[in-house]
Every structure is written in structure tokens, then in C-alpha cells.
Symmetry: C2
Subunit: 244 residues, 2 copies
Amino acid sequence: MSRFFITASNIFGGMAYLSKEDADHIKVLRIRKGEIFTVCDGNGTDYTCRLSDNDGEDLCVEIVDKTPSPGEPNVKCSVFAAFSKGDKLESVIQKSVELGASEIVAFPSKRCVSKPEGVSLLRKTERWQKIAKEAAKQSERGIVPLVSVMPTYENAVKKAAEAELPIFCYEEEKSHSLKAALEQAGEIKTVSIFTGPEGGFEPSEAALAVQYGMKSVTLGPRILRCETAPVSVLSAVMLFTDNM
Amino acid sequence: MSRFFITASNIFGGMAYLSKEDADHIKVLRIRKGEIFTVCDGNGTDYTCRLSDNDGEDLCVEIVDKTPSPGEPNVKCSVFAAFSKGDKLESVIQKSVELGASEIVAFPSKRCVSKPEGVSLLRKTERWQKIAKEAAKQSERGIVPLVSVMPTYENAVKKAAEAELPIFCYEEEKSHSLKAALEQAGEIKTVSIFTGPEGGFEPSEAALAVQYGMKSVTLGPRILRCETAPVSVLSAVMLFTDNM
């Protein structure tokens, strides 16, 4: 069913108030008078709405049902991905949202070839958030995961380390596996997945992460691309926690 | 370490014989006389070789060590992906090879928007095999997974159903989860992962797959894109079977 995210404050009195942009999109999708579609408040609640007239201006539709969004996992996974070249981060954001990430955080690290700053970073972040919203609509999420940027590597590590299971994906780690880390963690409600740029992390960066309490893990004997690792680990976490 | 795939017949008498193309690549990588690199026979054996002279013609190098390729999982995963639009299949092939797939099979299905045929398909298949080879080098695989094309949907189903655990990823499946299918299967050596095009499978296609013995599974409440599903399921299978 077609899906629209609107701010919770635009849902009241048994009605949902949609923007002109959404009204236009409803026309493009050829949704007709009397047909139903889903409006989501972005806080995990879905509203089934019935279209009355759509004159192409701001649109007010009747709410006929209200349910918790079925697309939300019961574990909050934050994906921390280092800046990477080209549009790789766009792909990571899109796929992470589809797979149930609660947020995506981009950060600089020593071997990053691309380190966007200033206006360029601002524009990128806007674009990334748009990609997250589109992916949330398409994959039927109950929230639009936030895309944010950390100014320094250490800030990113600190924030990631707040999760109950902070996973540091490290090419030079040979002994601790992702599965062992998941098994040892037991019942968890928050996970962070921390992955590096094209050239991987520097040993000093790995040391800092461990110092802050992150769990350094290997992703096995095959070298994964920087845009593959977060998607792969997120899938593994979703399977392990029965959210897939 | 730099990695080159050569045919097994070019390894004999304690020496490995590389093509001019590989010799040129060795120059580009600035590998110098006396330095070592890996030659893989594509059958799961790695040879550590030492460079003597590299005059840019066919190259003969001394083998100094021989070990099983560490990058091979102990379960054979065949990824069956329906034809999809644009370069999505290229991404599926690249990521599947990185994640340890043993082969990738493309096939037509009813809702495929793109159904390449004839010369166009031939060119695409050549390109796909090249992508698989590059991904195998980069991710340090011990084989170059074969990319093939099935002429009909039914042929693809028949071939996929030969695996001990043939997983049919179906949007309309609501009860059987991927994890349950993996748990029920127990110790397995062969898996096939079967995923649809942009619009998903038709009910009649799902019925045929089940008739041939495939296990229809849901990938959870979120709708995955056709290029995300195989990568996600392969990651989950690799975690579950301790190959990640």
C-alpha cells in the first residue's frame, strides 16, 4: 500500500493533514476518491486513511484505522559508516534503512580519501536524509532513520560505544567473530555497527575504539568492500535477533 | 597481498606462468624483483610466488609456498537472482562474490521489466563474469564463482531445488522465516538463495517453486529491494553457518 510520512502534529481530530507535495504524489500514484493508503507519523504508528477529494492543494484525509508500524525491529541498530568515495555512502544509507537501521552516522577517519566539509557536507547530508526517507517509504518502515555526521573520529567512537553491543568491524582482527560477539551479548536492545573507509582503520583507531569499550570483530576471511560490510553485518544482526 | 587468478594448467614444475595482462598489472602495482604475491588456481589453492624479472611479456615466477585458499566458506551458496533493471545485477554479483557465493545464476521471471536476450545477453554475461573475477581478486576468494544464465524460470527453479536447502524468498510468505528454515535444515553443505525482480514473484511462480521442493521464506516485515535481498540473505546464511 502507498505510504506517506508526515509529522505527528499534522495528525489530529481523526484526520491527517498532508502537504501539497504529498497530494501531488497521490495524484501521480492514481489513488482515487474512496481508496485507502497509509500515513505514518514517523514515530512507529501507521494510520490507514481514505481519500476524499484531492484538489491538489493541502490535503485533509479521514483516518479509518491506527496500528503500530509492523516494519520496526525490536532492536535499535545504529550504523556508523566512515566517509567513502563516490556514492557508496548513499547505497549504505538506502540499504541500511531497508534492513531496519534506526539511524545512520557518517564520520571521518584517517584513511578516508573523501572528507566532505562545509557547504558540500551540508548538501550531502540533506541528500542523504532524502535517500533515507525514500527508502523508509519503500521498505515500509515506521520511522525515518536520522542521518547525521560526526565532526571527529573520536566523537563517533564515543557515541557508538554507548550501545549495549558496539561492534567495531576490523580487518586486522583475527580471533573474535561477529557471531561470538552476538552470542556473548545475550538479549540486547541497542547495537552499533562501526565500519571503516576503503583502506580500513589504522591500528591506533582500532585501539581507541577498544579503549572506549567497543568489541573488535572480524567479518571472516574474505575482504569486504566498505559499502558491503555495514549491510552484511546489519543483515546478520537482524537474523540473529529474530528481526528478519 | 596482490592476488592473481590463473588456470591450474599454468602451474607446474614449481613455477607459475602468468599472462602478459597479469605481467602488466604486476608492473602497475609496482611489485618489484624479489617481492612476493599470491597466485590462485581458482580451485581453492593459493601459491605464494616470488617475482624474478618482469620484462612485460608472459611471466614465469617461482612458487615458494602452497596453501588452501583461506577465503572459501565450507558451504556452497548459489545465488539465483531474477533479471533486474539497470546495473542492479552487477551489484548483486559483486557483493555475492565478496560474501562467499559459489556461483551466481540469473534467470527470467514473469514480472521482470528487463529480459536481455541474444547478443545483448551474451555481452552482459561476459561483463558479469569479469565483475565476478575482479570481486574474487579483491575479496581474496579461492575460486572465481561462475556467472550463468538460465533460459527459463522453470529451469532455474529445477536447478536451485537441487541444493540441500533451497531458499525461495517470497514477499507474500508470512509464516516461515529464514532463520526457522536454517534451523530446521541442520548441518548443510549446499544452499541456494532464490530472489525475484523489482515487482516480486507471481503466486504461480511461488507455487511452482514449492512444488519442486523449495522452502518459501519471508525476509521479515520490511520490503527489501531486489538487489538488497540476495546480499542480505547470503550474509545471514554465512553468519548462521559460521562462515563469517
